[in-house]
Amino acid sequence: MNAFFATVRRDLLLAMRRKSEVLTAVFFFVIVTSLFPLGIGPEPVLLKKIAPGILWVAALLATLLGLPRLFAADHVDGTLEQMALSPSPLGLLVAGKILAHWLLCGLPLVLLAPVLGLQFDLDASALGILTLALLLGTPLLSLIGAIGAALTLGVRGGGVLLALLVLPLYIPALIFGAGAVEAHIAGLDVGGHLSLLAAMLVLAAFFAPWATTAALRIALE
C-alpha cells in the first residue's frame, strides 16, 4: 500500500510543479458552463431544466481533457517502464495514478459545481444532489478514462481516438448522474440513481485498474 500512496504523492507533487496543466481542466469546466446561458438565453426556467445536463457534460469533457496526459509523460521519459518492472504490483501503482488524476481533475470539478450551479438558479438541495452525484461519478470517469488512455498510449492521433473510445463508455455515468439531479428537481426519489452510480463505481474500481494495467503492458512491449 505504501507504493500506492507514494504514486499518489509523486503525481500530486509533479502537478504542483506544473500548475497550468491542472488549472486547464478547471478553467475549461467554468468557461463551458458559463457559455451555455449566453448561447441559450437568460430564461431561469429553461436554464434550471438543462442545468444538470450541462454541468455533467462539461465535467465529462473536462475530465477527458486531462486524460491523454495521464500516462504519456511517464511513457516518454521511461518512468512507466520502471514502474512495470518494479517489485510493487503495477496495478497498485496504476490505481495510485488514477486516484491522483481524480484528485487533480475530478475533485476540483465537484467542489466548483455548486458554485456554477448557482448560475442556473438551482436551489440548495438540488446543488447538494449535484455535488453528491459528481462525487460518485467523476471517479468513475477517471477509472474508465484510464483504460482508454492506456490503450491509446503512444498511438497516432491518440487524443481524438481516446474521445471516440471513452465517450460511449461514459454514457451510463452521464445518464444516472444528470438523471439524479433532474429527478430531484422533478420531486422524485434519487436513491436509485445514486446507488446505481455507486455500484458502477465499485465495479469500475475493481476492474478498471486491472484492464488499464493489461493495456499498459501491451503499450510497453
Binding site: T152, L164, P168, L169, F176, M200, A215, E221
Partner: protein
Amino acid sequence: MRQSLIQWFKFASPQSFYPLAGRMIPWFWAAAAVFGIAGLWISFFVAPTDAQQGEGYRIIFVHVPASWMSMFIYVVMAFWAGRGLALNTRVSAMMAQSLAPTGALMAALSLWTGALWGKPMWGAWWVWDARLTSELILFFLYLGFMALQAAIDDPRRADKAGAILALVGVVNIPIIYFSVKWWNTLHQGSTINLNKAPSMAQTMLWGMLLMALAFWMYSIAVALMRVRAIILERERHTEWVKHAVE
C-alpha cells in the same frame, strides 16, 4: 477428445485455416442465398398486410435481423478477441478484426432502417428510443474498435489492445443498454415507445427468423473472405504464403 483438441489447434494456425476458410465460404454463401430467398418470399408475398401499419411494417424483416446481428457479432468478436488474448492464437485475433466491419455495417443498417421505419410510424426520422440509442452507441463502439486497430502499426499490439477494448465493451453493453432504457422511461413524456410493435403473426416470425439466418450466414461468409485477406497481409513474409498464391 484429445484428438479433436489437436485438430482444433491445427486449424488455429493461419496456414491451415486459410484453405479451410476458402473451402467453407461457398457453403455459407449458398446457405445465405437459400435463407435469403425464402425469407424475402415470406416478407413480401406470404406475410399479410398489418392492420395498423399497412405495408410499412415490412421493414421489420431487415431491421430486426440487422439489429440482432449487430449485437451478436459484437459478442462473437469479443469472444475471438479474448480467445486471441488468452491463448495467443493469431487466427482468433484475425477473426475479431475481420468481424468488426461487418458488425459496424449491421449496426449502420439497423440505424438506417430504424429511421425509415420511424418516419412513417411516428413522424420522426430519429427518436431517442432506448433501442435506437443503444444501437447508436454500439455503432460508436464498433468505430472505436476499428479506429484503435487502424491506429496501431504493430499488428500484434493492435490485436491485444483491440481485445481489451472489445472485452471492456462487452461488459459495458448491458450496463449501457439498461441505463439508456432507464433514461428513456424517465423521459417518457417526450418520446414514443417503440415497444408497441404489431402483434407477431406466425408467418411474420418465420420471415424474420429466415432473414436473420440469411444475415447470419452472410456475415460468416463475408468475415471468412476478409479473414483470408488479413491472413495473407499479415503472413506475407512467411514461406507458405509465397507458395499459397498461384
